[in-house]
Symmetry: C2
Subunit: 183 residues, 2 copies
């Protein structure tokens, strides 16, 4: 039941955000009453924090696997970009942590710290990919560029979603590449 609730809630948050997540609707989806949801997750914040933690764990597992398979930065970044693109093709959804970043002021502290953890793991992974490139760069330069790449991809997803036009995402990423921001 806990897993069923998380699966349904994740889809809702990626599509509508934290504020639009309703315990009543969620309960109806999985066939229990809203008061019963609180038995599995004491508050809405606890549920959202659990979602974000799982989201990060799943992401880290997938990304680690990519690193183990290849040390080609372009190939790695292609796979990375594809993760964000597939959220859009899946009913115009967004990165769970991206959409919740926009709602930051409505999030309990435990959710905010999960967002920070998600960002940190993504940036670290991108920085590792940048290490594959030949050019000599300092660790700080790689981290700065990694956070810029992460921000740029999140932004392309946000704007493409706002316009309900995936070509905005594709053209943005292509321009990032052409400028040399993304390997």
């Amino acid at each position: 039941m806990r897993e069923t609730l998380m699966a349904a809630a994740r889809l809702t948050v990626q599509a509508h955000g934290y504020n639009a997540l309703s315990f009543r609707e969620l309960a109806q989806e999985v066939g229990i009453k809203s008061a019963s949801v609180h038995h599995h997750f004491p508050t809405k914040g606890a549920l959202a924090a659990a979602l974000a933690r799982r989201y990060t764990e799943d992401g880290v597992a997938y990304l680690s696997d990519l690193l183990a398979r290849s040390s080609n930065p372009t190939w790695c970044m292609d796979r990375y970009v594809e993760i964000f693109r597939s959220a859009l093709t899946n009913d115009n959804r967004m990165c769970l942590c991206g959409i919740m970043s926009a709602e930051l002021d409505d999030l309990p502290p435990e959710v905010r710290s999960e967002i920070d953890a998600f960002t940190a793991t993504n940036v670290e992974w991108i920085a590792k990919v940048l290490e594959f490139s030949k050019s000599k760069t300092s660790a700080q330069e790689r981290l700065d560029r990694a956070i810029a790449i992460f921000s740029a991809i999140e932004g392309a997803q946000l704007v493409a979603r706002g316009g309900q036009d995936i070509s905005i995402f594709d053209r943005s990423v292509q321009a990032y590449r052409r400028a040399g921001l993304i390997p």
Copy 2:
């Protein structure tokens, strides 16, 4: 009263988003009852659409003035970036249309079209700035790069807000510049 309501509502939406905007709180802020707000704006969607339209109009006026004053692309983009940065320094707020893009599925159609209009005017302005640069590029190339710049800046704002750390914004923009994405 209409202007008072819009001013208060804009600050709330830039800080908390569309879903968190409450007619009851808004009414209390300006000293009337929530039912009375509906006299000025029939629905929450109508209020949000009016906010977005005004936001775009104000933005266009400011950006046109910049173009009239200088044809230096770096100077123009510095001023442009500063607009997004100042939202963050103003109580960690976001671009009105950026935050609402994340809530897209909860927005009535009239708000969505205002978001599209905002994005279009911003992209057109950036494309004009790119024309100032010496390099020979086609109109399509400039538009693609303009949308990438817009997406990248929105993304830097989103991620910096999520981490409540303006240095994320600054480091991202600096990396965009270093890569040659932004003039």
